[in-house]
């Protein structure tokens, strides 16, 4: 049984996703939809981290239930920088790069959920399967958002 490894890996990647989302939110404070939607989506990943830590105890794991995040000071420095450069055109390119990064991270996490769900089915771990079925769609929604936002933003950035 290597389910503990899968849980641990997913806990790590969801934890990372929280950081990616909040950091992206702070960096793009002047892109208001990015700022707010990333924060709303980060709540999902934060919950996933807590849920994985919870179920991890059944598999002999001791995982941190709270996502590790940017210290408040760093977040406000990023937000302030966003406000200072918000009038320039370069943030558009940065936003594309960040969206691309988010898409890849969320897609990777989504694959990890897929693996965990398959493993849980194989091992007939009902509770773990329920968890995967509850959380996985939310991770997929993050990839879809990143993809959709890339589609919206890229023509303006690349073709003008």
């Amino acid at each position: 049984m290597k389910l503990d490894m899968a849980i641990e890996e997913l806990h790590r990647s969801e934890n990372h996703l929280v950081t990616v989302l909040t950091s992206m939110s702070d960096k793009h404070k002047t892109d208001h939809e990015v700022f707010y939607v990333c924060r709303d989506m980060a709540k999902w990943s934060r919950q996933h981290v807590a849920d994985l830590a919870g179920i991890g105890t059944d598999f002999g794991l001791r995982l941190e239930p709270e996502a590790s995040e940017d210290p408040g000071l760093l977040a406000s420095v990023k937000q302030r920088t966003a406000e200072l450069v918000g009038r320039r055109s370069t943030p558009g390119l940065l936003l594309l790069a960040d969206l691309r990064h988010l898409y890849r991270e969320a897609a990777g996490t989504s694959v990890d959920w897929e693996l965990l769900a398959q493993g849980a089915q194989g091992a007939k771990e009902k509770e773990l399967l329920d968890l995967a079925q509850r959380c996985h769609p939310e991770t997929l929604r993050i990839t879809r958002w990143a993809n959709a936002y890339l589609k919206v933003t890229s023509p303006q950035v690349l073709a003008s």
Partner: protein, 819 residues
């Protein structure tokens, strides 16, 4: 015939009627200067434009001037009635400060010029930017107050000619969520309801919709039902004690920002008690299991804790809604301008689908509009959507539209959703949009976070064109100002929320050199040299009727089919409801009869969006979810609002409207009776909050948020404790400051305070959840606030004189309509 002070009695006198009966006729009229009908030279057919109700009226003309109005007895919408804004608002047309000549900015100042100079300046700058940067440098921001013909022409110019998808209307601020909610549930815009549903409904539920003030004549219809035998029960969801709340059987006043939780609890109750039509759900919807799962834990107790509404009240409301035999619902800004706007509005649709209450008398949903022609902004593609509810992510629809317009499909931008106004501003802020053409709206007062808006619109690198009838706050920031004709000075059609199309004919000439918006737009298209793919002019008409005929072809076979209509058919009688075509030559009162929707994947306008992130659903996903085009029961989880109260900012601030004003008061502020009824900004606070701070009625308060400051006298009203209300109408055009507050303490526009945030689904900005602080600047010394006493701002303390209009506000009422 009676004469009534229609400022003191906005809804006039009662003509009670019972369920299933026809609403009695009452013809309202007002003529200025003591004139009588015998003095009138001619009556010219039109409909009302200072709200969204679409009441038929005739314009009285004497000596080639508008002198008054009279409701049309034959019209299906109003049966002769008019509201205070209709009776008195027309006077603004005759205002001496109308724009009469084009203006251009020279050495920092706007100076008068001729049309050729102004239009060349506009077209040359646009051509320069097209050459240099391409179509994405150019954006259009229009309104909900032009005519269908003008929107369709504008959409054609922007999408088919210039090829930009930076097109939006101020409908984004008022009814974007109406459209978005309909697209989520029915995959297509278009209202399932009809005003006649009021005549037979036994329960009328108003969600964040202060109908008494926003659609006075429709509310008059409700009042007449309430005064008659077997009256309907009314459910009201509103944090203020509005006239609707006072007439309601149950008034739910949730904490702002919690509508979705409240709605999920109502749905929970309907499902838990089996007050749902399982056969209808089975036959005509998808998504029930998911909705059931999502609302399973939203008990009235859970919602009570989040929304701060007694669980018992939620149960009572659910019982009334759940056992209604003919349920009619309407929704407006309390939902649309709130956090999670679309998700909350969709819940209302869900209730109707769950109960099978669609497509039959008394069972309508009105996802309300705010402005008179907002429906056309959406239908014709002037809000960025493609015309006649074509789907931008369906290539076949693009090909079809390209055929109608005779352009290459690649010319029509359809690679992503249209750029909504808040995103346009972001592109202007970062410098990639450099030309903005604003028609008939006033973003420098109506958009959130005004300091930011003014900074963005004042940038030198932006070329700002404003087409308007007055030198609004926004026009004062423009590079070119184009003087336009308005209602009564031009011909066109427009459509209200229950799909009724009216013809509005030209009654008088516009002042000075002012021209109709249609003429100006066509002139722009020609100067731009816009052509179809065979080298012929892109815009193939030169007058309103030509544009209407063009639109009819564009609408053929689409849900909003206008092919059975013509100017001649609209003349003389009542307005007519679309779809109107060979199959339905007299129009269509109810759509979605027998669960037949426009939601088939290859026909629908939209595949929907994620309720939290706003990401569009892909075609393949939609095809899998809803292959046969049923109604979609869309579930949404409650998400807490983004700006929460704190020790520093302990109040929730909501902004809104009053009965006597429209938009930024450009017209109603110039109508003496309306201006006198609500002459200055006020702030509403509950009695307990005022008592805690020893504030009394009329004290001058300073309301602040991290964005700015507004000073206003306090009206102690029946608003929910912890919440402040500011009317959004008041800007600066009639102050010494002109376009902005001279000093920060001069702030009076509510939008100085609001935050830049929007519903990710409908992109409608949020005006109902900001955290605010308040302090007293000076005591009232016996001077109460001048807020109206007849409306949601009614005082709950004594000593406030009632709002009246006096002799100059006396209008005639003729019950039965004949003398």
């Amino acid at each position: 015939m009676t004469r009534t002070d229609r400022i003191a009695e906005p809804w006039g006198s009662r003509t009670p009627y019972g369920p299933g009966e026809t609403w009695p006729t009452r013809v309202d009229s007002y003529l200025a200067d003591g004139l009588t009908e015998a003095d009138v030279d001619r009556w010219v057919q039109s409909a009302t434009i200072l709200h969204s109700n679409g009441d038929g009226l005739d314009i009285a003309v004497k000596d080639d001037r508008i002198v008054g109005v009279r409701g049309r007895a034959v019209d299906r919408v109003n049966h002769g009635r008019l509201g205070p804004k209709d009776l008195f608002g027309w006077q603004a047309n005759n205002s001496p400060d109308r724009l009469t000549k084009p203006l251009v900015r020279r050495r920092g100042k706007l100076v008068e010029t001729d049309w050729d100079t102004a239009m060349d300046a506009v077209a040359n700058r646009a051509k320069e930017l097209l050459e240099e940067q391409g179509p994405r440098a150019i954006s259009f921001y229009t309104t909900g107050q032009l005519f269908l013909e003008e929107y369709y022409t504008l959409g054609l110019i922007a999408h088919g000619g210039i090829g930009t998808n930076h097109v939006d209307g101020n409908t984004r601020l008022c009814t974007a969520t109406a459209a978005a909610a309909l697209k989520e549930t029915f995959a297509c815009d278009g209202q399932p309801g009809s005003y006649t549903d009021i005549d037979s409904a036994d329960v009328i539920a108003l969600y964040g919709h202060n109908m008494a003030e926003t659609q006075t004549v429709l509310w008059t219809r409700v009042l007449d039902r309430l005064a008659g035998p077997n009256p309907p029960q009314v459910i009201c969801v509103d944090p203020r004690e509005t006239p609707v709340a006072r007439a309601a059987t149950v008034h739910l006043a949730p904490r702002p920002g919690t509508n979705v939780m409240l709605m999920n609890a109502l749905i929970h109750e309907l499902v838990a008690h089996g007050w749902i039509d399982r056969d209808y759900i089975e036959a005509h919807s998808v998504g029930f299991a998911e909705l059931q799962k999502q609302t399973a834990e939203c008990t009235p107790e859970v919602a009570a804790a989040v929304c701060d509404v007694p669980a018992e009240q939620i149960r009572e409301a659910a019982l009334i809604i759940g056992t209604a035999e003919r349920l009619m619902s309407s929704v407006l800004q309390g939902f649309y301008q709130a956090h999670q706007a679309t998700a909350a509005a969709v819940c209302v649709n869900n209730i109707h689908v769950l109960r099978g209450m669609l497509g039959k008398p008394g069972c309508g949903i009105l996802q309300m509009n705010g402005q008179p022609t907002a429906q056309n902004t959406r239908e014709c593609g002037a809000d960025g959507d493609l015309p006649a509810f074509r789907n931008w992510s369906n290539d076949a629809h693009i090909a079809d539209l390209a055929k109608v317009w005779n352009v290459d499909p690649m010319q029509i931008p359809h690679y992503s959703p249209p750029t909504h106004i808040m995103q346009q501003l972001r592109y202007i802020e970062e410098g990639s949009i450099r030309f903005m053409y604003v028609t008939a709206t006033n973003p420098a007062v109506s958009l959130p976070e005004l300091r930011r808006i003014r900074e963005i619109l004042s940038q030198d690198r932006l070329f700002l064109v404003v087409q308007d009838i007055f030198l609004s706050e926004t026009a004062q920031l423009a590079d070119v100002v184009l003087p336009a004709a308005t209602w009564g000075e031009k011909t066109g059609t427009f459509t209200n929320v229950d799909r009724t199309v009216h013809l509005s004919e030209k009654a008088v000439e516009p002042p000075g050199e002012a021209r109709s918006d249609l003429d100006i737009l066509i002139d722009f298209a020609h100067r731009m040299g816009l052509e179809d793919k065979d080298g012929a002019p892109l815009v193939k008409w030169s007058d309103p009727e030509g544009a209407f005929e063009g639109w009819k072809e564009c609408s053929r076979g689409r849900p909003c089919d206008y092919t059975g209509l013509s100017y001649d058919k609209l003349r003389g009688g009542s307005g007519i409801q679309w779809p109107c075509n060979d199959e339905h030559p007299d129009g269509t009162e109810h759509i979605y009869v027998d669960g037949q929707f426009w939601a088939q994947p290859d026909y629908c306008e939209s595949y929907g969006r994620d309720m939290v992130t706003g990401a569009p659903v892909e075609k393949t996903e939609y095809e899998a979810l809803n292959p046969t085009g049923r109604a979609v029961l869309k579930a949404a989880e409650y998400v807490a609002p983004h700006e929460l109260v704190s020790e520093e900012y302990p109040f929730q601030l909501i902004t809104g409207r009053t009965l006597y004003h429209f938009h930024t008061r450009t017209k109603t502020g110039r109508a003496p009776q309306l201006q006198a009824a609500a002459p200055e900004v006020w702030v509403e606070m509950s009695q307990s909050d005022a008592a805690d701070r020893s504030f009394t009625e009329g004290d001058l308060l300073e309301v602040t948020t991290p964005r700015g400051l507004v000073r206003a006298r306090v009206r102690i009203s029946g608003i929910r404790p912890g919440v402040l209300f500011l009317p959004f109408h008041y800007g600066y055009w009639d102050t010494a400051d002109g376009s902005r507050p001279r000093k920060e303490r001069d702030g009076r526009a509510a939008n100085e305070l609001t935050l830049t945030d929007w519903d990710p689904v409908s992109k409608q900005p949020i005006f109902k959840t900001a955290a605010a602080a308040v302090r007293r600047v000076s005591a009232a010394k016996g001077q109460p606030s001048l807020a109206p006493t007849t409306t949601g701002s009614a005082p709950v303390t004594g000593g406030v004189p009632p709002t009246t209009g006096g002799a100059q506000a006396h209008a005639e009422e003729l019950v039965g309509g004949r003398r």
